[in-house]
């Protein structure tokens, strides 16, 4: 373990600096800067809208809102975990030369994507209210922060576990490249869970990603939050945190030797 003494306060400052500087670096020299991140996710939603609504004739009320409300949290999850997975390998000099607190690195990646999501909230809300015709809801004031915390608690252990594993077995990042598209279609993201045929329906309900995404959609579209869904995701987050902690204790001390 690193022998530099750090207080929690100093670690928090480091996390803040690392996250802010990485975001800054990413948008330096780009005229449209942050607009690219918005455009990318909206374009994805647009493609699915064409494919499923226009061409396949899928009947979902306010399908474009359904897509947008789910797509942004998904991008946070998928891009956050994928970039965090590479964080130990990419930051090898920091780990090897600086004796850095490892767990901060993937957390910074997850926070960067969370920052993107938070910055996108006005655009999401505008989409929900204007073309969607939904009323802005006062309950968002507590629902959105709560969901931000729940998703952060759910995503970070996954990100940390993948990053640790990827330091030893570099296949993880390629595996995720296949895994996330598969998961995307195995989770009701572009279709409602109601059209999933009966024998499979119960299994789809078990997917914590469904509970997470459905929570976001019901917040944005109805201003309501199903406590059962939130509790289910929080339970998963706790279990994942326990696994990630065990992995961290076992794998972190030698990360400096394998990256």
């Amino acid at each position: 373990m690193p022998r530099v003494e750090r207080s929690p306060r100093q670690l928090a400052e480091f996390l803040y600096l690392l996250t802010r500087q990485e975001l800054k670096a990413r948008y330096k020299g780009r005229l449209l800067g942050y607009v690219w991140a918005l455009a990318h996710t909206f374009a994805l939603a647009f493609v699915y809208w064409i494919a499923f609504k226009i061409i396949m004739g899928l009947e979902v009320t306010n399908y474009s809102v359904y897509l947008v409300a789910g797509m942004f949290p998904w991008v946070w999850l998928a891009v956050g975990v994928t970039s965090a997975t590479r964080s130990f390998v990419v930051n090898a000099p920091l780990i090897k030369e600086m004796g850095l607190a490892h767990a901060i690195l993937p957390l910074s990646n997850v926070m960067q994507e969370m920052a993107h999501f938070v910055l996108a909230l006005p655009a999401i809300i505008a989409w929900v209210v204007l073309p969607g015709g939904y009323d802005a809801s006062l309950s968002w004031l507590w629902q959105i922060p709560l969901m931000l915390l729940v998703q952060l608690a759910f995503v970070y252990p996954i990100a940390l576990g993948c990053a640790l594993a990827n330091a030893y077995v570099r296949d993880i990042e390629y595996f995720l490249g296949i895994g996330f598209p598969l998961l995307f279609f195995a989770t009701p993201m572009v279709y409602p869970i109601s059209i999933v045929p009966e024998p499979l329906h119960d299994y789809f309900e078990l997917n914590p990603l469904h509970a997470l995404m459905q929570s976001w959609r019901s917040v944005f579209m109805e201003g309501s939050l199903d406590p059962a869904h939130v509790a289910y995701v929080a339970g998963w987050a706790l279990a994942l945190a326990a696994v990630a902690w065990l992995l961290y204790r076992k794998l972190a001390p030698r990360v400096g030797e394998v990256v």
């Binding site: 373990m1 690193p2 022998r3 530099v4 003494e5 750090r6 306060r9 100093q10 400052e13 480091f14 600096l17 690392l18 500087q21 990485e22 800054k24 670096a25 330096k28 020299g29 000099p93 920091l94 780990i95 090897k96 030369e97 600086m98 004796g99 850095l100 330091a167 030893y168 077995v169 570099r170 296949d171 001390p253 030698r254 400096g256 030797e257 394998v258």
Partner: protein, 256 residues
């Protein structure tokens, strides 16, 4: 006397920890490697101590374990056996530009690097003018780091680290990049650092430099301590061995 750095019976081998592919995971890694004869140890039975406020040199041919030793002191590599005791905060200057981000400006990099070194944000803000002034790079502070030369990066790194709150500095042959005047400045700063009670561990191939800067030191060969004592004498005996006998067996080791 209090010791800043204390190592006792350090052993380290790299044989057992390698990145593996899925194939070896699924099919098993084959028969277990007998580590008793796996290779030489990267470090074998290395021990030394450095009192507070002193400067310690580590010399030896390429591949003799100098960097492994520093990495263990820094805590990024785990020793297999032995004990490391450090009395104070450690900072390292092992690789040029490690911890620096090319797209960020010099100013932003000082903040990030300072934080990596364990400084508080308020502390970096307070000392920023000193850091910039010391590096003599005030004019380039708002330029992205990728426009800096190697010498400028070394200046920035050194300036930040010398203003950090470290008690023990680990330095791996990176000061040679600066120009002559900045090297003099570095040596003066390291001297002042030790006067304040700071401790230095320096790895170098520049025998003249280590002899001047370090009080005592060791010479490593294939992971073992082959010589120790006052630095100028250790350096002189090392140089003599290298020139008379040429590099010992194991062709990859460069003579200096």
């Amino acid at each position: 006397m209090t010791h800043a750095v204390l190592c006792e019976g350090l052993w380290k081998t790299y044989q057992r920890h390698r990145p593996v592919g899925v194939k070896s995971l699924l099919l098993g890694a084959g028969p277990p490697v007998d580590t008793r004869f796996a290779r030489e140890w990267a470090l074998a039975e290395v021990g030394f101590q450095v009192p507070c406020g002193r400067s310690f040199g580590v010399i030896g041919a390429n591949g003799s374990g100098k960097t492994t030793l520093l990495s263990i002191l820094l805590g990024t590599v785990q020793e297999d056996r032995g004990r490391v005791g450090l009395n104070g905060n450690v900072a390292s200057l092992l690789e040029l530009g490690a911890g620096f981000h090319g797209d960020l400006t010099g100013r932003e990099n000082v903040f990030l690097y300072g934080s990596i070194l364990g400084m508080r944000l308020a502390e970096i803000r307070r000392r920023f003018e000193d850091i910039a002034g010391y590096s003599e790079l005030e004019g380039a502070m708002d330029q992205p780091l990728r426009t800096y030369s190697a010498g400028m990066i070394a200046r920035l790194g050194f300036s930040t680290i010398i203003h950090s709150a470290a008690d023990i500095l680990l330095i791996d042959e990176v000061l040679a990049v600066g120009d002559a005047r900045f090297q003099v400045k570095c040596h003066q700063a390291l001297h002042d650092f030790r006067k304040r009670g700071g401790t230095l561990v320096i790895v170098s191939h520049n025998m003249k430099e280590v002899s001047e800067v370090c009080d005592e030191g060791i010479c490593l060969d294939l992971g073992r301590v082959v010589d120790s004592g006052p630095m100028p004498a250790v350096a002189a005996r090392y140089q003599e061995r290298m020139t008379v006998a040429g590099p010992a067996k194991g062709g990859a080791r460069a003579a200096r």
